[in-house]
């Protein structure tokens, strides 16, 4: 019996959260910007106008800097499952590893192999072939997101798998269930749309800055037009599909949903949506709640008559499941003594869905079978995630989403009227909106992953049990290394981004053509 060091759990979680949030600064920009490049290059191939090629090359420079950071920080995520979450890797690798491996084969290979030709192949292949390279590069990035989110969705909604007491792990029973996990569909479209919004905002904001400075006018207006149209479509889809995502959360992760809403008690159907309020964890109530009737019931159940359970009711449910889980745990240990024990097999089969709930007790007692009612209460209470953080993260994210629709709709309208340059306040607004999509996507990650706590795999494996048997000193050292190198790289990344954005197509000699002819053919 190996005891789990709570410091190791805390440090491993901190390291994973920091490196994942950091990686996710770069991923959405890659996801969005690459499609904008593909659109611009398509226009170039269709119209033959040189300016569109130069646009691809200029935004491509910024794309390249960001892509390198995305690749560099992505390797960390793959390594970390083995380094810091070894028991997790053992426990669910049979299912979770497959989508990650397929991501490498189907998607990452494609984007990483083609990215070199994208940058260095302009003079070596025909226009059409280069365009195809760009499109496949874009396809590769989105496919990459698909497989990562299939893996992530399984953590939220672990379908198509069963516990095997002989191997002490979860094993696949149905791959199609894992692949067609409804949560995966919703997460994929919501997440890539968010990336598209971010990419569009990036182009919109930097172009607005050129217009404010009176530089690169035709270049910037064209870029803004592409960003506005692409951004509007993406912003609409991110909100609509985010709502779909909310619906699937309410089906599979009722506790997460109730915590996002700070809904302590089960409300009569249709439940109201709490627009604002101050969640109080101690007293399990929400002060000064401003409620809009019916809205939550509609979002969460798509009906007017189904109730949504509140946090307190879900804690009571958890207590029941812990009781069942203890029976499953006992049966598992009996099977370890005699693997043909028919009665134990039957008990495990009846309750293996709740085995994970018994594992929640491991934090408080070595052997879940010896848990006291106080331990069980504590474990049941531990199923409540951090309500105020979820409550606020969700609201800020959603507010950002609606703001993006408004900004891109307005931008689209101005672009169609060809008046992008007419109002400086609009250009400033577009410029200063640049950080908002990053805030929104990071908060979205927090809602999804912090909201999943205390589970690594919802209902199956508590996060605290997933860690490696390493020392706190080891994790502290690697965490320190990440902080050091990631900070240094962030500084370099921002400096280079600013440098090349400031230089602009004119400064880089890409556009207008008079200077372009004098300079090298590569940015």
């Amino acid at each position: 019996m190996i005891l789990i060091d709570t410091d190791v759990v805390t440090l491993s979680r901190l390291q994973f959260a920091l490196t994942a949030l950091y990686h996710f600064l770069f991923v959405p920009l890659t996801l969005g910007l690459v499609w904008i490049l593909a659109i611009m290059e398509s226009v170039y191939v269709m119209t033959g106008r040189e300016v569109w090629k130069r646009m691809v090359q200029f935004w491509g420079v910024l794309f390249g800097i960001n892509f390198a950071m995305g690749v560099a920080t992505g390797v960390t995520m793959e390594f970390q499952f083995g380094m810091n979450w070894a028991y997790y890797s053992h426990y669910v690798g049979d299912i979770f590893g497959a989508p990650l491996a397929i991501e490498g084969l189907m998607a990452f290979f494609l984007e990483a192999t083609l990215v070199g030709v994208f940058f260095m192949g302009w003079e070596r292949i025909s226009r059409i072939k280069h365009l195809l390279v760009t499109w496949f590069l874009a396809l590769g990035t989105s496919l990459s997101a698909l497989w990562i989110l299939v893996a992530n969705a399984w953590m939220q909604n672990p379908v198509g798998a069963a516990f095997n007491p002989e191997t002490m792990r979860m094993e696949v029973t149905s791959f199609s269930a894992v692949l067609f996990n409804p949560v995966a569909q919703d997460k994929f479209v919501h997440t890539v749309s968010a990336g598209y919004v971010l990419g569009a905002m990036f182009v919109l904001s930097i172009s607005a800055w050129y217009l404010l400075r009176g530089r690169n006018l035709d270049f910037a207006k064209r870029s803004m037009t592409v960003a506005a149209s692409f951004g509007l479509a993406a912003a609409l889809s991110v909100v609509v599909l985010g709502d779909e995502s909310g619906y699937s959360v309410s089906l599979n992760q009722k506790m997460k949903m109730a915590s996002i809403e700070a809904m302590w008690e089960t409300e009569p159907a249709p439940a109201p949506f709490t627009l604002f309020g101050l969640p109080d964890v101690e007293q399990r109530t929400t002060h000064y709640a401003l409620k809009i009737p019916w809205v939550m019931g509609l979002i969460g159940t798509r009906s007017l008559d189904q109730t949504m359970p509140g946090i307190n009711e879900l804690v009571d449910d958890a207590k029941g499941r812990i009781g069942n889980g203890i029976q499953a745990y006992d049966a598992m240990l009996m099977l370890r003594q005699d693997k043909d024990d028919a009665q134990a097999k039957a008990t495990l089969a009846a309750h293996d869905q709740d085995l994970g709930y018994a594992l929640l007790l491991k934090k408080y007692v070595d052997d879940p079978r010896r848990a006291t009612p106080a331990d069980i209460q504590q474990a049941a209470d531990s199923t409540i995630p951090n309500v105020p953080v979820l409550f606020w993260s969700f609201r800020i994210m959603v507010a950002c989403g609606f703001y993006f629709i408004a900004l891109f709709a307005f931008s689209f309208w101005k672009a169609s009227k060809r008046t992008l340059q007419s109002q400086r306040w609009y250009l400033r607004l577009a410029l200063w909106s640049l950080p908002l999509p990053w805030i929104a996507v990071e908060l979205g990650w927090i809602v999804a992953e912090y909201g999943r706590q205390p589970w690594a795999i919802e209902g199956v494996l508590p996060t605290a049990l997933g860690v490696s048997t390493v020392s706190a000193g080891q994790v502290l050292t690697s965490l320190g290394g990440f902080l050091l190198f990631y900070t240094a790289l962030a500084v370099v990344d921002v400096v280079l981004m600013l440098k090349f954005a400031r230089k602009g197509p004119d400064g880089l000699g890409l556009w207008p053509p008079a200077t372009a002819a004098l300079s090298s053919d590569r940015p």
Binding site: A72, V75, G97, A98, I102, F109, E171, T477
Partner: protein, 376 residues
């Protein structure tokens, strides 16, 4: 539907294929990076070398990512034990993999010799570190690693980074270093301006010679100085993936497999024949020398894998906990699905990778670099 034992052997071979794929494809990138300061005497020459690998290094690196991902999917226990057990060694490799992408991209973004020099050192250092550490890690497999499982199959490990530095493991590190430097030099001879290629040929010959001597030395040491592991009794080849279900005998020979299956000797023979091939062919500065060094890499890794078979990760602390091909795999369903996916997708990957190499073919000359200064 294939039976469980066959699937396991296929996945063992696929794991080897991915590792060899990584060592051949990304190995020359590492080799060139490791030789950057030796082959490239000034910034322009180093630029030539880097532009030779820049269009393709990123795709090559995916062989490593994929080897990791496939291990996670097909050998989850191996993935969990090795990555968490060799914590700091893996962290160092990870650091190299974090710094390389940004190194390649950022180096040309600021025109300042100090800036370029900083990233040259980063690329050289990360190249050397990975080549050396990969060999040290492989060498430790023969020595056994200090881990054991409890009844929940939670692994614990006794030892730190320094415990990995056994002289035999260090020797394996040098084998790996010499081999991949030679491989990188063969690539530089093929790809770089003739002024640099000439130097690369000389280095390829010397490093190959060093490789052959170290490789034979490691083999002799392994045969007479390092006791082997063996599964006690008949192996349950289609059994449950639980390492604790078996018993392991310690003290045999790692060459037992070579005696049982004489065709295993093809691998070391290939490695040494290819080393001779590099001596003969490197001077042509063409594809032939590079193919020879690739075969050398493939033969070497295969020969080590054959010696270990059926072990993946022997445990020195509790031999029973050792991971073998028969008890560390995923379920049959996962192995089967992943096999189908790999058989469909890997040929596609090889196809478009081949196309990219064809598009980007040709020697990178000093003149080109002078004309269009600045990387991508």
């Amino acid at each position: 539907m294939l039976d469980y034992a066959t699937l396991r052997v296929i996945w063992w071979a696929l794991l080897g294929t991915l590792l060899i794929g990584f060592a051949i494809m990304d190995g020359f990138d590492f080799g060139v990076a490791g030789l950057l300061k030796v082959l490239g005497r000034d910034n322009e020459e180093r630029q030539v070398l880097l532009e030779g690998i820049e269009p393709t290094w990123e795709g090559n690196q995916v062989w490593f990512i994929l080897a990791g991902g496939a291990t996670f999917a097909a050998w989850p226990t191996l993935y969990a034990v090795s990555f968490s057990g060799m914590y700091f060694a893996i962290a160092l490799v990870l650091l190299a993999f974090i710094l390389r992408p940004v190194g390649f991209n950022f180096r040309g973004k600021v025109h300042d010799p100090r800036w370029a020099s900083l990233w040259d050192w980063v690329l050289t250092g990360s190249g050397l570190a990975v080549m050396l550490l990969a060999g040290v890690a492989f060498g430790n497999l023969f020595l056994g690693l200090p881990f054991r499982f409890d009844d929940d199959l939670r692994m614990s490990w006794q030892g730190g980074l320094l415990d990995l530095l056994h002289p035999f493991a260090l020797l394996c590190g040098l084998v790996s270093l010499a081999m991949l430097l030679a491989h990188g030099a063969c690539f530089a001879a093929l790809k770089a301006d003739h002024a640099i290629a000439e130097r690369a040929v000389a280095i390829a010959r010397w490093t190959t010679l060093a490789f052959a001597a170290l490789y034979v030395l490691a083999g002799v040491w392994l045969a007479w100085g390092i006791p082997g592991y063996a599964i006690a009794g008949p192996a349950a080849t289609a059994g449950v993936s639980n390492p604790l279900y078996k018993q392991v005998a310690f003290g045999g020979s790692w060459f037992a497999g070579y005696l049982q299956y004489p065709w295993f000797w093809v691998a070391p023979a290939l490695a040494l024949a290819a080393a001779v091939g590099v001596q003969v062919l490197a001077g042509r500065r063409g594809v032939a020398g590079f193919v020879a060094s690739s075969l050398m890499v493939g033969g070497t890794i295969a020969s080590a894998g054959f010696a270990l078979f059926p072990f993946l990760l022997p445990s020195s602390l509790d031999p029973r906990s050792s991971l073998t091909v028969w008890d560390a795999s995923s379920s049959r369903g996962t192995l089967q699905l992943m096999l189908v996916v790999t058989l469909v997708l890997l040929p596609v990957v090889i196809l478009y990778t081949g196309w990219v190499y064809r598009v980007m073919r040709g020697r990178v000359t000093l003149e080109q670099v002078r004309k269009a200064h600045g990387g991508y």
